[in-house]
């Protein structure tokens, strides 16, 4: 078989498209986690975004409005998580898992009338690349700038590292975290809508099929740094696309191994960067997943 039959540009386009939902969802979750909140409901928010975006795009015949609706729906579901964990102080891990189940079920319910319907075609810039691809990269840049260079970003990180100190300095810990949670939900919703409006374009129940969990893994893989999230998403998306294309070429690559590779790499990276070092060296926000109770 002939490797030259692989068009590198087409391959690159597929890779970028495949990584885009992951970049959106993981970038949102990164901001949430940097504020000290662990939201395991990414999968649920993605699928809600997928169906809300699909439904709105079909109703208005506008993919752009679909994406807006997806962001709103993702943020709304995330705020439900925010209400439960930040105001009612529920356990974040349990609430996040419940959010995923709730999102999958609710999306299936909303999606009943939408199977077999075609969404309005999203504008493609080139090949499989649509506007969400460059926007995703812009988002990564913006998140990096926000966290590393801006004062609000510094405050958000402070809340994530030590919420008691941030509270003592007079920062509204709960409000900041709710804002981060809503942002994370909106991003996850947009990632989901990219699946249902551009990548597959169709609505099928459970169509995220674990992308939300991969996004969560990427955040850890990236040790909470935006640039590495992009790299991680390319790696995850790239390995998938590459192995599918190599197979189409007729190169018998162990498909099970290739499917496993990104997860193995995540474990490897975790082992390498955490070997003999503290949690701080890993880059995890110190207050990640801890309950903040101002009255306590």
């Amino acid at each position: 078989m002939d490797l030259a039959a692989l068009d590198p540009l087409l391959l690159l386009a597929s890779l970028l498209a495949a990584a885009t939902p992951l970049i959106w969802a993981a970038m949102g979750e990164l901001v949430v986690e940097r504020s000290g909140v662990l939201n395991l409901g990414v999968e649920g928010m993605m699928i809600i975004g997928a169906i809300a975006g699909f439904a709105a795009a079909v109703a208005t015949a506008s993919p752009a409005l679909g994406f807006l609706a997806a962001a709103a729906a993702g943020a709304a579901l995330a705020l439900l998580f925010g209400l439960l964990t930040q105001i009612l102080l529920a356990n974040q891990v349990a609430t996040g898992l419940a959010l995923t189940m709730f999102g999958l079920g609710l999306a299936a319910l909303i999606g009943q009338p939408y199977s077999g319907i075609k969404p309005p075609p999203a504008t493609r810039l080139a090949g499989q690349i649509d506007v969400m691809v460059p926007l995703g990269l812009a988002l990564a840049g913006a998140v990096w700038w926000f966290l590393a260079r801006s004062r609000p970003g510094l405050i958000l990180r402070a809340v994530g590292e030590n919420h008691d100190a941030a509270h003592a300095l007079g920062y509204p810990v709960v409000a900041i975290r709710l804002a981060a949670i809503a942002f994370g939900g909106a991003c996850a919703g947009l990632g989901g809508a990219h699946l249902s409006l551009v990548r597959v374009p169709q609505w099928t129940e459970g169509m995220t099929a674990g992308a939300g969990w991969i996004a969560l893994a990427i955040v850890v893989f990236a040790s909470w740094r935006p640039a590495r999230v992009v790299l991680g998403a390319w790696l995850f998306g790239g390995v998938t696309i590459l192995q599918l294309n190599l197979q189409a070429l007729g190169l018998g690559i162990g498909s099970a191994w290739m499917s496993m590779a990104p997860y193995l790499m995540t474990i490897l990276v975790l082992v390498l960067i955490s070997a003999g070092r503290s949690r701080a060296a890993l880059g995890a926000p110190a207050c990640l997943g801890r309950v903040f109770d101002a009255s306590g």
Binding site: I117, R199, A209
Partner: protein, 361 residues
């Protein structure tokens, strides 16, 4: 559950009163039937068709059956938990509808000897475990004929899930049929290592199209490939379900799994107390494998040839695996005129000659 227990107790009392040791199971007034699916019921493919079967059971038996289902159960340890839960909550009959549930079914069935289990596409049975499957390869033969005629690039893409006999058999059947009408046909095969992941299925479809495929076949559960085929203006076939609405222009025909009659019969058998462990392998003849309507894009002669093949298969006049056929490595498999026996088909783990892909390890 209460009714069941009472019926059983009454039955036991009657048997004791008569002094007769009756071994035969008692007829029941009402049963609970539980269904376990590998994907969501809304996948519009494999799991969707099984759920249609569940609804058919409800429609046919009405008050006498209560059905429930659990969807998106991964193959592996989770299946054992769900099966146990189903058995504990009083199910009389459990349908486990994916190959990868096999060992879990056998294990849980041993713990609940009074519950009847039905395992789709597997090969391990027990006194309270039946297996059933459809001869999808008969359908693959028919759509393989159509694909061989319809491809312009002589390159047919095949999205495969896992290396199990059912999938390998389907590829071989489709390939042999396509080659029989078009000697230049090549298959490009992509293994996606999942039954249901629309994004990955779509990516696989795109990869195949970029490599020159103009007809797609799939052995995965979602209509993603059909949607991509429609978008790219090439052809595809509905899999498990008709999938017409996902590719009005792309869809040439479909292989439809019809579980309804089997599910109704098995539920009735439990009601009547006549259920026995069996192995059922239905095909076009019994209606378990159906060929969906042909698209207008398929020329009349091709439609006729495909229809004739389906009729001949149903009548037992045509076997999709009829020699001479060699294995991929060139070693002989079937002599001229010889047909494959079911045992070989059920364990098929080799490609036939002419397929250039190599099976994943």
């Amino acid at each position: 559950m209460n009714i069941t227990r009472r019926t059983l107790m009454a039955g036991t009392a009657a048997a004791l009163a008569l002094g007769a040791a009756r071994v035969r199971a008692q007829a029941k007034q009402k049963i609970k039937a539980a269904f376990m699916y590998v994907g969501p019921v809304g996948d519009f493919g494999w799991s969707y068709q099984h759920d249609q079967g569940r609804k058919a059971v409800e429609a046919a038996l009405g008050e006498r059956v209560e059905t429930s289902y659990v969807e998106s159960v991964p193959e592996g340890p989770d299946a054992e938990r769900v099966l146990t839960q189903m058995a504990r909550s009083g199910a009389d009959l459990i349908f486990a509808t994916s190959f990868g549930y096999m060992d879990q079914v056998i294990k849980v069935a041993r713990q609940f000897p009074n519950v009847k289990f039905e395992h789709a596409t597997g090969y391990k049975r027990a006194p309270n475990v039946s297996t059933y499957s459809a001869r999808f390869y008969e359908g693959r033969h028919v759509i393989g004929l159509i694909a061989g005629h319809m491809t312009r690039t002589n390159t047919i893409g095949y999205i495969a899930s896992f290396r199990i006999p059912e999938v390998v058999r389907g590829i071989n059947a489709a390939f042999l049929a396509a080659r029989s009408v078009n000697p230049k046909v090549q298959f490009k095969i992509v293994w996606v290592s999942t039954w249901f992941d629309p994004a990955k299925e779509a990516d696989a479809a795109n990869a195949l199209i970029e490599q020159g495929c103009d007809v797609l076949m799939q052995h995965t559960d979602s209509p993603a490939a059909m949607t991509i085929a429609e978008e790219k203006g090439i052809y595809a076939f509905g899999q498990a379900s008709d999938m017409r609405e996902f590719g009005p222009n792309a869809r040439l025909s479909s292989i439809i799994d019809n579980w309804n009659p089997y599910y109704i019969a098995r539920a009735k058998a439990v009601l009547d107390g006549t259920w026995e462990s069996t192995d059922t392998w239905g095909g076009i003849a019994s209606g378990m494998t159906e060929i969906g309507g042909f698209s207008d894009r398929v020329p009349f002669e091709v439609r006729k040839q495909a229809m004739d093949a389906a009729i001949a298969i149903a009548a037992g006049r045509l076997h999709p695996f009829t020699g001479p056929i060699r294995k991929q490595d060139g070693s002989p498999w079937l002599a001229p005129g010889e047909t494959a026996d079911d045992a070989t088909l059920l364990g098929m783990d080799f490609y036939v000659e002419g397929i250039t892909d190599s099976l994943p390890r």
